[in-house]
């Protein structure tokens, strides 16, 4: 039983090392991988929206900081290409 536990632990640790290596490669470095786990992964969601679903609405602010409008106000008559992103 002890031997089985040792092997299991070894396999799990090995898989973790491989996963961390892969993540480091994707992120750019081991430090970036840690930051990715800490800061990015909790905010990344695949979401449940599918093609054909009703598009959700949300209120946005114009660049003047005063005027607000809704995404769905912009969907009348023509397709709307939504581009989500940030500066950094």
């Amino acid at each position: 039983m002890k031997r089985f536990l040792k092997w299991s632990l070894g396999v799990v640790l090995g898989l973790l090392v491989v996963a961390f290596g892969a993540l480091s490669y994707l992120a750019g470095s081991p430090k970036d991988a840690l930051y990715m786990v800490r800061y990015a992964l909790p905010h990344m969601h695949r979401g449940n929206l599918k093609v054909g679903d009703e598009a959700p609405d949300a209120r946005l602010l114009a660049l003047d900081g005063q005027t607000s409008f809704h995404i769905r106000e912009r969907t009348a008559g023509r397709p709307l290409v939504l581009v989500f992103g940030s500066f950094t």
């Binding site: 905010h43 929206l49 599918k50």
Partner: protein, 134 residues
């Protein structure tokens, strides 16, 4: 920007600014330091608006622009962070759902959807000037 210039006569575009992806107080990228794009994650709407305005001014950004409020309603509704593309059709339904950025952020797919409906917009290939004969 090319997709906007090519299809703005057929479709509307809206850029939605969401919470920062690589702020200085979280996961800052070396490329951001090199490009002098260094901002802390906004804690107030005023800070978020200031960064959004910096962005549009710096790049003379031509697309219509909206800023997600601090509750991140647009981000949450569309699972948009850090970057993502959607196309909503005239009936208010999702016509194209892009993958999660940055690895699956593929403007070419959105372009293909627009090209399928409105036709492909071709650009002349850039040719290298012929070397001068000495």
């Amino acid at each position: 920007m090319q997709i906007y210039n090519d299809y703005k006569d057929h479709a509307d575009f809206l850029t939605v600014y969401v919470r920062e992806a690589h702020p200085t107080d979280e996961w800052q990228m070396k490329s951001n330091v090199k490009d002098d794009v260094c901002y802390a994650q906004p804690k107030t709407l005023e800070q978020r608006m200031a960064i959004a305005n910096d962005f549009t001014k710096r790049f003379k950004y031509p697309l219509p622009f909206g800023v997600d409020e601090m509750a991140n309603a647009a981000d949450l509704a569309y699972s948009a962070w850090p970057e993502r593309l959607y196309i909503i059709d005239e009936n208010g339904r999702i016509a194209y759902r892009g993958g999660m950025g940055p690895f699956n952020y593929k403007p070419g797919e959105a372009r293909a959807w627009l090209a399928g409906r409105y036709g492909e917009v071709k650009h002349p290939e850039k040719t290298e000037p012929a070397p001068k004969k000495s």
